[in-house]
Subunit: 369 residues, 2 copies
């Protein structure tokens, strides 16, 4: 038995468990495909037909490396948001950008503040740099702005994470409240404001983009409303110096040529986006109606999913399992306080039909077991 | 003027200069497209027609996230190489995997050994974790196996990088010599063996894959012979424990759905690969002939480019500039010893026609200036 080259102390201390289980892995384990894929907050409506045609047309160009500057996509994003090109960085989804932010602002042992039950991939990347997570409980199913601020102060955290609209609860804060939160943050604390669902909620929940404030990074994605989760492309908007700092460590050839071009085309088709937003709103109403008809309480949502209150955690887990066994892929939060819920993404009509058909049986099975 | 949240000491110490200039950036600066794109060692022959058709066909499926396990691609790679699925990890190109290896094995201040003038992206990622690069000069236009070994021992390096076949010189070591090198390495030193060009050189340069040796990571890519640089997909093969350690920090959703499926299809079309390998060999002969007809010395190459000895660094730089100004995109090594050369990638026939037409004028201009 030969010796292994030693890992660094930070990496050596990390668990070997793999934290991400995709629906494909579940299908492989089950030996059977899901009939409704409404668990990963994907957009079943797909990308714009213009985007699909463009991607198909450029498949043969994939022998060329991507532009390491992401120039055309940055120009398009900047024009779309009314900021400068120097205020935009593109990454391999928000996930890729979160990994970079962790490395930029978090030294080993530093406290990092998030909400208990918020995006696990953020936590994963903080652990990856040896950061110490401070998780603040949700309050009334919203991330607690006061609690986050207090934790930042107590733990002198260089970094705090907030998603708005929120995943997994679907809740949101109005812009005025977020602005107060931002103004109350220490200048030495960087805020990652994850706005993956920004296109799908009320515009009143989006503070104007203020790139003069050097301790806020806004992150958005093509994975949700734009229906392009599979191409892996997100972007961050911030003060120009902050954006330049990303250049120091990002994988410059990380975002595919396909993704860069698809992103440009997706932003150009705002009519399609509007149609998706309308269909998502309609789907949310339908999910809420199905839930209410079955005695579950739908929470208000500014996203492309609806979180359904099942009453308590043990029962909600049984409902999840019963739906999975009926070939309906959904997910649920697992932390205390949120674990009483299941989370159902807006799918196509026929997928919500299947959900409506299977929910009564799943509830009965959960009650009987 | 507001304060910026402080960067970590490691990131703060890094330069803000952006090290990657793509041909697109040069075209934007020039305001004019290149007529021959033969500078980035891409495969102008493109991906297999089967791969192109498959990519076009799945464009509409891009609303779905990628499989975070990269399961199907790992199974295909494993079968192709005769190793287990547990011996394969997939990343956003070799670049993405190099970034992870740096974080896994290099603590701040650790020495990392490479060759002076070898892959700059490796150096970039080592700098990104605060590693200290020890760069060993090439010997006779090959990476110096003896020099690398000596440096590893002197500096107690936890990590050493070797590309075989080599970029930017096109040279290679035979398998027997590499095996001796590997056997002489300390067990505590991890070797990254970058085999991006492995399909394009003699098979005698590829040691059998030995996953029982825990201090060797072999890296390969779809960017070169498979003609898929734009999709960003590479893989590493190693001991199962080493592969599990990648799971601790990799961006699990980093490799796009498009890339995973294209990779599977590309490996399935080995007939196309063989045709590309033959065309590349023919292109190398043509570039060598053009060089010799113009008094330049082509170096032997096991890659999809030919490095041409122009005599001295100042002259070679002028030749590069003269070719760029004639709309021929090529590159050249810049470090002492290698800088006497320019590097020309195998392109399509019409691109090599342009190179043949423009080289005499470029040489004359370089001599005259």
């Amino acid at each position: 038995m030969r010796q292994h080259p030693p890992l660094t102390p930070i990496i050596s201390a990390l668990p070997s468990t793999v934290p991400f289980v995709g629906p494909e892995a579940q299908e492989r384990d089950r030996g059977r495909a899901f009939r409704a894929r409404i668990g990963a907050n994907e957009s079943s409506f797909g990308p714009s037909p213009r985007v699909i045609a463009r991607m198909a047309g450029i498949a043969r160009d994939m022998w060329m490396y991507c532009d390491p500057d992401n120039h055309d996509l940055k120009v398009t994003v900047a024009a779309h948001l009314g900021v400068g090109v120097e205020n935009v960085v593109v990454g391999e989804g928000i996930d890729g950008l979160l990994s970079l932010v962790a490395r930029m602002y978090v030294a080993p042992g530093d406290a990092v503040v998030t909400s208990l039950g918020a995006y696990p991939t953020f936590n994963f990347h903080i652990a990856g740099v040896g950061g110490r997570l401070v998780a603040v409980p949700y309050e009334n199913d919203r991330e607690s702005l006061g609690g986050l601020l207090a934790a930042v102060a107590t733990d002198k955290a260089p970094l705090v994470y907030l998603s708005n609209p929120d995943n997994p609860m679907g809740s949101w804060w109005e812009a005025a409240e977020l602005i107060r939160f931002i103004e109350a943050l220490p200048e030495t604390t960087m805020l990652v404001l994850d706005e993956a669902y920004s296109e799908l909620g009320p515009t009143s929940a989006l503070p104007p983009i203020d790139i003069s404030r050097p301790n806020v990074i806004r992150m958005r994605t093509f994975s949700k409303a734009y229906g392009l989760a599979g191409i892996r492309c997100g972007y961050a908007v911030a003060d120009a110096q902050v954006i330049r700092d990303f250049e120091k460590i990002r994988n410059h050839y990380g975002v595919s040529r396909m993704a860069q071009i698809a992103g440009v085309e997706a932003l150009a088709d705002q009519d399609y986006l509007k149609s998706v937003v309308a269909r998502v709103a309609s789907g949310r109403r339908r999910i809420a109606g199905i839930a209410e008809a079955n005695g579950l309480k739908p929470l208000p949502s500014a996203t492309n999913f609806v979180t359904l209150d099942c009453g308590d955690g043990a029962f909600a887990l049984k409902v999840l399992q019963a739906l999975l066994s009926r070939d309906v892929f959904i997910r649920k939060p697992m932390v205390p306080g949120l674990d009483r819920c299941i989370r159902v993404s807006v799918g196509l009509d026929h997928e919500l039909d299947i959900f409506a058909e299977e929910l009564p049986g799943a509830l009965a099975a959960a009650r009987g077991s």
